[in-house]
Symmetry: C2
């Protein structure tokens, strides 16, 4: 069987199961969150003031970005920002990064200077320190960041984090900011749409995503315990929460905070498609009681919108309903790295 | 300028300097060892019982191994073992790994099962727990491991580690085990040499390197403070110690512990070349006082051989002398990922 048949998530499940079958290879007393969440969480011994959160994410040329069409500094920024987003999705604080570059020998040193200026800019923006890394030769360029950070501990010494498996039936589903902009930006680039204030804004969302660190911390402070970042698309990422929590979810399309810049450039149906399935917005999604979400809305430094609720129907997945309560079918609901590739 | 002109180490220096030029991007109060050693080391706050050591290393198909010629389980083993070796070279203990796979969609799932059985075997051997990872599409396959571990603290709360920049003039230079076997194994594979007990032993050294964890800890216990692992070749890796410590080194070729299996297959001159410059043996190199090395020799679980000494001549690099005191020129002294590539 080819990995393109199994898909990214099927493959990860299979490999995780193979490791889990061997005692101690994918679990330990100190590992609080292992494979399957935005980041791993482990304890640093009995007297430590905080736990460690760690994640890794890779951008590959020709897959995640087109080298000739993307400023290298934007690639550097994004490589850091998408990892910071994973830490934000756990409610943690990023600290130290290891940066691996895969490069053909023909790469230009000046381009790497530019790449690293983007890495440095993002590190400054998010308080990340580059502690090391690796440079290897590779046919096509890639950049892998391993990022570790800290999670606060509760009074019993357990890590205070946002998890995918912590949703409860009846929880409201809320998202930060607005959705669909990054996918709209990608389409604007692909189709060579005329430059305007709106297309520029969308392209910036695509190339310079912002990690919602403050919103993640504010959610924990509001006693919210379930969160994920929207990297693969709203429906797909909420689907991860549903599977991990053994619940379903119902969303109302009229409540989705669609990126306002989309309206100037795309039809409403297309804008909804981007918002529901586009991916790469790196907003955070939370589930929690109405009071907790209201508290988050008061404390957060950005808009938070309730878009639906969790329902007690395991394996029902995510349903998106229109104003009349009819289910909307969304084609291409989310990004799978491997399915159908090559 | 192309990166192939600058080379791996020139490029790392340039990128590290660019980051260091921005305050706080490559340094922090908590970062005890940053870019430029086998692994980074940072503190976990005032009451923590240990510091964190973190490293990352990548294997790329077609560069570090040939997919069709290498059992996938060996690739998985090696991806973990080479990272554990970096932790061993600091005298630390490995703990948690993040594993990133880059894959074409056409990869076979069964091959990945095999790869992960090698990953799991190595994790069991070294007490490593896989805490998470990432799977991405890539034209050619690669595997990146980010590995974190622990370093003990001294009575003042400083991390007890082996560093490249801690050599002193007059120190003896010592290595664990024997050298050149991995390079001999690679040559045996490349040239299709007849199978024998010796070629099998050499090929095993190439494909299933062992990280010298116990020797690293024993060195710290013997009050040795300078160490590195021999991944790129003895002369090159000792050259890193020389540069970091602003010293030179003199080695005696007759003292090098050449892998005994080489003698059955290669001429003595070729065997010396492998031992001095071959790389991938993943033995540890230490420098320290004679008493400390003698103490290590008593405590270590494997042979430790003194091969030369550190001399007070900055920028002199490493000189390899024969029995008559004449300098031996070693061609291709060590592995550079980028220089001359493509």
């Amino acid at each position: 069987m080819k990995v393109s048949d199994l898909g990214e998530f099927g493959l990860i499940e299979r490999l995780a199961a193979a490791l889990a079958a061997r005692p101690g290879v994918a679990s330990s007393e100190r590992l609080a969150v292992g494979i399957g969440d935005d980041a791993a969480v482990w304890l640093n011994g009995p007297r430590a003031a905080f736990a460690t959160i760690a994640t890794t994410d890779t951008l590959v040329a020709g897959v995640h970005f087109l080298l000739d069409a993307t400023p290298w500094s934007d690639v550097g920024w994004k490589a850091i920002a998408v990892n910071v987003s994973d830490i934000a999705a756990m409610g943690g604080e990023p600290e130290f990064a290891l940066v691996t570059l895969g490069l053909p020998g023909s790469a230009e040193v000046e381009q790497l200077d530019e790449l690293y200026s983007g890495v440095a800019e993002a590190c400054e923006a998010y308080g990340v320190v580059v502690a090391g890394g690796d440079v290897v030769r590779a046919e096509s360029m890639f950049i892998t960041v391993g990022l570790s950070g800290r999670a606060e501990l509760d009074t019993k010494g357990k890590p205070l984090v946002l998890r995918r498996d912590a949703a409860q039936a009846g929880d409201a589903v809320a998202v930060t900011g607005c959705l669909g902009g990054a996918a709209g930006g990608l389409r604007a680039l692909q189709d060579g749409l005329a430059e305007s204030e709106s297309t520029r804004a969308l392209i910036t969302r695509q190339r310079r995503p912002r990690a919602r660190l403050a919103a993640g911390s504010a959610a924990l402070a509001a006693r919210i315990r379930c969160g994920i970042d929207i990297s693969d698309g709203l429906l797909q990422d909420l689907g991860h929460v549903c599977r991990a929590s053994a619940l379903g979810a119902v969303l109302r399309s009229e409540e989705l905070p669609i990126d306002p810049a989309l309206a100037d450039v795309f039809e409403p149906e297309q804008a909804l498609q981007f918002a529901a399935a586009g991916g790469e917005d790196y907003e955070l999604l939370f589930t929690g009681g109405r009071e907790q979400i209201a508290e988050l809305t008061r404390q957060a430094d950005m808009p938070v919108t309730i878009i639906g609720e969790m329902v007690d129907v395991a394996r029902a997945g995510v349903r998106l309903l229109d104003g009349a309560g009819r289910e909307i079918e969304v084609p291409d609901a989310g990004w799978d790295h491997l399915r159908g590739a090559e």
